[in-house]
């Protein structure tokens, strides 16, 4: 068992998402940065859909009640095990009574904590992913407990994987044309692809972009949207939908991010800049 002595800014349990219920209006949810969440599970030899902790900007303060192995991947939030700095992307051996805490943000936004065999959480509609109204909680709170399996025989390699830093350095987001892209004028299309956008308010539902795009077309009949869909709102603001987004929407869907760009954006912080790079569907 793991206790949250402090929950951190926004910490939740996630797997790869809740699929098959979108026709009932249930969002996919799931890890924002699939690349690093999967990496943590792979290093541990877990199933890639095993439940991990998604930690945002300010990490939690954790107390471990049983021995296990953990891996941290993604943003560098200066993790410390029993006050000693520890590395990302490698197996960390945790003993009974160990404490994990985080410090200053060095780079990135979201860190994933994977545990050997995954966190033991009851699935709701086939997924462990927290989502308000589907699971009891949308984020962990101070004093919460989460179960994991005890792993006492700690035989494993000490190899550290060195994943590419490009995800954190890249500011180019690959986009496909969205279903309503062709409604944009030539001028709007150019503006969209030539602007260096800065990130405004953001959370697991959506990232807002600050620079406005001229908007003169009406809303559409409510239709399906996906994580990675970029909507143009009536005020001209661009809204990049992410994992907790609603299943349908009525704003024109002008662009769609590819999978790796969702990961890249998920590690961007308020005021960071991004630019779109148009690619075509196969």
């Amino acid at each position: 068992m793991l206790e949250f002595l402090q929950s951190g800014l926004y910490t939740s349990i996630q797997d790869l998402g809740r699929f098959g219920y979108r026709n009932y209006g249930v969002p996919i949810a799931g890890v924002m940065d699939e690349y690093h969440a999967k990496l943590a599970n792979h290093i541990l030899g877990n199933d890639e859909n095993d439940a991990v902790l998604e930690i945002t900007l300010q990490g939690p303060y954790l107390y471990f009640y049983e021995p296990t192995q953990i891996v941290l991947c993604g943003a560098n939030l200066s993790p410390k095990l029993n006050k000693e700095a520890v590395k990302l992307n490698t197996i960390l051996h945790v003993r009974k009574g160990d404490q994990l805490e985080f410090g200053a943000r060095i780079y990135g936004v979201r860190t994933y904590l994977g545990v050997k065999k995954g966190f033991q959480i009851e699935k709701v509609l086939n997924s462990c992913s927290f989502y308000d109204g589907i699971t009891k909680k949308s984020r962990v709170e101070n004093g919460d407990f989460i179960k994991y399996e005890t792993v006492s025989h700690q035989i494993s390699s000490n190899a550290t994987i060195a994943p590419s830093k490009e995800i954190f350095q890249n500011h180019q987001l690959n986009v496909y044309k969205g279903p309503e892209f062709d409604l944009l004028s030539q001028k709007q299309q150019e503006q969209l692809l030539n602007t260096n956008f800065s990130i405004g308010l953001n959370n697991r539902m959506a990232y807002q972009l600050n620079e406005l795009l001229e908007n003169n077309f009406p809303s559409i009949i409510t239709s399906a949207v996906l994580p990675g869909t970029i909507q143009l709102t009536p005020s001209g603001k661009l809204l990049v939908l992410l994992k907790d987004c609603q299943t349908t929407g009525g704003y024109p869907r002008i662009l769609q991010l590819d999978e790796i760009s969702i990961t890249i954006l998920s590690q961007k912080h308020t005021k960071d800049r991004v630019q779109f790079n148009m690619i075509s569907t196969s």
């Binding site: 219920y21 009932y24 279903p179 409510t222 239709s223």
Partner: protein, 484 residues
């Protein structure tokens, strides 16, 4: 018209995407591949897509996929061939379908084409089916002469995607020019046989070759593209005119968005929902998820199996294939209790003032229609309803509320709906329903589905509390009746 056949049930597992395009299939019946499970599956698909069913017997040699000649006693040989055909006959009977033809497989196909002894033996094995089933064999082969003498109903078969030697045998697969994969070449090859009864062999000679049916190898990597192109080019299998709707657009790299006309009518909804049901019943494995919303379907597919163009073609084909035995899912009308008391109907007074209506009139207008559910979205269990009386249309509140109560019944613009959980919202609130619209403990978390109807039934405050208590203790059953 071009007649196309494919060997199927051999483990490639792409039958459901080929069937919409082909005329006949030859089903592996246990000799070189296939078992009861695959035969059932393929026969059911063939029936659904009105594809002729053939038995595809082989030397009993699963190890070499029937590609090696096997020495057997006459008795053994006849026994295995008849067993394979009768096994398929039994399964076909279960599906109330019929076998139309027999086509020998692999090494057996080659042996009977060149050896009189093997040809006679094979025809002896299938003699009892002579008047029931036709026989697929190559033109100008040894078996052709014997079969015609014995009055078998012979269908000449040529290979759409294989090069021929001068003696009309197929170029060995060991050679690099054995298989045609480029669509243009295949069309040229088929056209020559079909129109001039001549095949251009690898030595560039034109040799006479007749064909009633063309075989496309279903295990070729681009088999699906080949049958699609042949279908378009030769107008095989009732190639019907394209319809105006739906429109097809890529959405991301593994989604395709189908959009019908932008009119919220129940005819439009029927087109969308009927196609949704049809593709679910066809059970196309490349489809991962279908998300219906008002006048659109977003289909998420496995991009590793099909690209956008091929998948679009397949969907267009499925859209035009009218299936006779497709029965629409039963639609229900749900009677949803709503309390319009002022403690719930917090915006009734504002609507009364703006729309110049008495509060009783608002309630009467709101409870009069039978609303159809056009889709479920926005929040888990939120129903998009069509059919609100024009006199009740009203703008959303200028400043949305931070927390609208669970069960709140509201009006926003031209729509009405119920908040299934506490949520921020800008709709004008006129009442509250004590029932649950989303219950994670149920197999179907939402009782209603798109296409169903909702009727609001006004209840008093006392009834509200009664129903509310019954709902919490799990003793409340929502009233409904079958609508159509």
């Amino acid at each position: 018209m071009l007649h196309i056949n494919c060997d199927v049930g051999e483990g490639v597992d792409n039958e459901e995407i080929l069937m919409p395009y082909i005329n006949a299939c030859n089903i592996a019946c246990g000799g070189h591949a296939g078992d009861a499970k695959t035969m059932h599956k393929v026969v059911a698909l063939a029936k659904k897509f009105q594809v002729e069913i053939g038995a595809h017997p082989s030397y009993p040699d699963r190890e070499n996929f029937g590609r090696t000649s096997i020495d057997m006693t006459e008795v053994e040989f006849i026994k295995t061939i008849q067993k394979q055909i009768s096994d398929l006959e039994e399964i076909v009977a279960v599906h109330d379908a019929e076998i139309t033809h027999i086509k020998p497989h692999g090494a057996l196909y080659n042996d009977v084409a060149k050896s009189e002894e093997k040809a006679e033996l094979f025809l002896k094995a299938i003699a009892k089916y002579k008047h029931k089933y036709s026989l697929y064999i190559p033109y100008n082969s040894v078996i052709e002469k014997v079969a015609l003498q014995q009055n078998f109903n012979v269908y000449y078969e040529a290979f759409a995607d294989r090069n021929y030697n001068d003696v009309l045998t197929l170029v060995s697969r060991k050679k690099s020019n054995a298989v045609l994969t480029e669509i243009g070449e295949i069309i040229k090859h088929i056209s020559s046989i079909k129109n001039d009864e001549k095949v251009q062999t690898i030595s560039a000679r034109k040799i006479m070759l007749k064909s009633d049916t063309f075989c496309v190898h279903s295990d070729t990597k681009n088999a699906i593209e080949i049958v699609q192109q042949l279908h378009t080019h030769f107008n095989t299998k009732n190639n019907i005119q394209k319809t105006e709707f739906p429109h097809y657009k890529p959405y991301g790299n593994s989604g395709i968005l189908l959009t019908w006309e932008a009119k919220m009518t129940s005819e439009m909804l029927d087109s969308v929902l009927d196609f949704n049901e049809r593709i679910i019943k066809f059970y196309i494995k490349v489809i991962i998820e279908v998300i219906q919303s008002n006048n659109s379907l977003l289909i998420i597919y496995d991009k590793n199996k099909l690209n956008f163009k091929t998948f679009k073609h397949l969907l267009e084909r499925l859209y035009l294939l009218k299936s006779d035995n497709m029965k629409r899912q039963t639609r229900f009308c749900w009677e949803v209790p709503v309390c319009y008391a002022t403690e719930f109907g917090i915006d009734l007074a504002e609507i009364a003032q703006k729309n110049k209506l008495e509060i009783d009139e608002i309630i009467r207008l709101h409870t009069a229609p039978k609303y159809q559910i056009f889709s479920i979205g926005f929040l888990p269990g939120f129903l998009y309803l069509g059919g609100l009386d024009k006199r009740l249309h009203i703008d959303r509140k200028s400043a949305p509320r931070l927390a609208v109560k669970k069960g709140a019944v509201g009006i926003g613009g031209m729509q009405t709906g119920i908040y299934p959980k506490v949520s921020p919202g800008g709709w004008q609130i006129i009442g509250n329903s004590p029932i649950n619209f989303f219950d994670i403990s149920k197999q179907n978390p939402c009782f209603a589905k798109a296409g169903d109807f909702i009727k609001f039934v006004p209840i008093s405050l006392a009834e509200y509390h009664e129903i509310s208590a019954a709902v919490s203790s799990g003793n409340y059953e929502l009233k409904s009746h079958v609508e159509c």
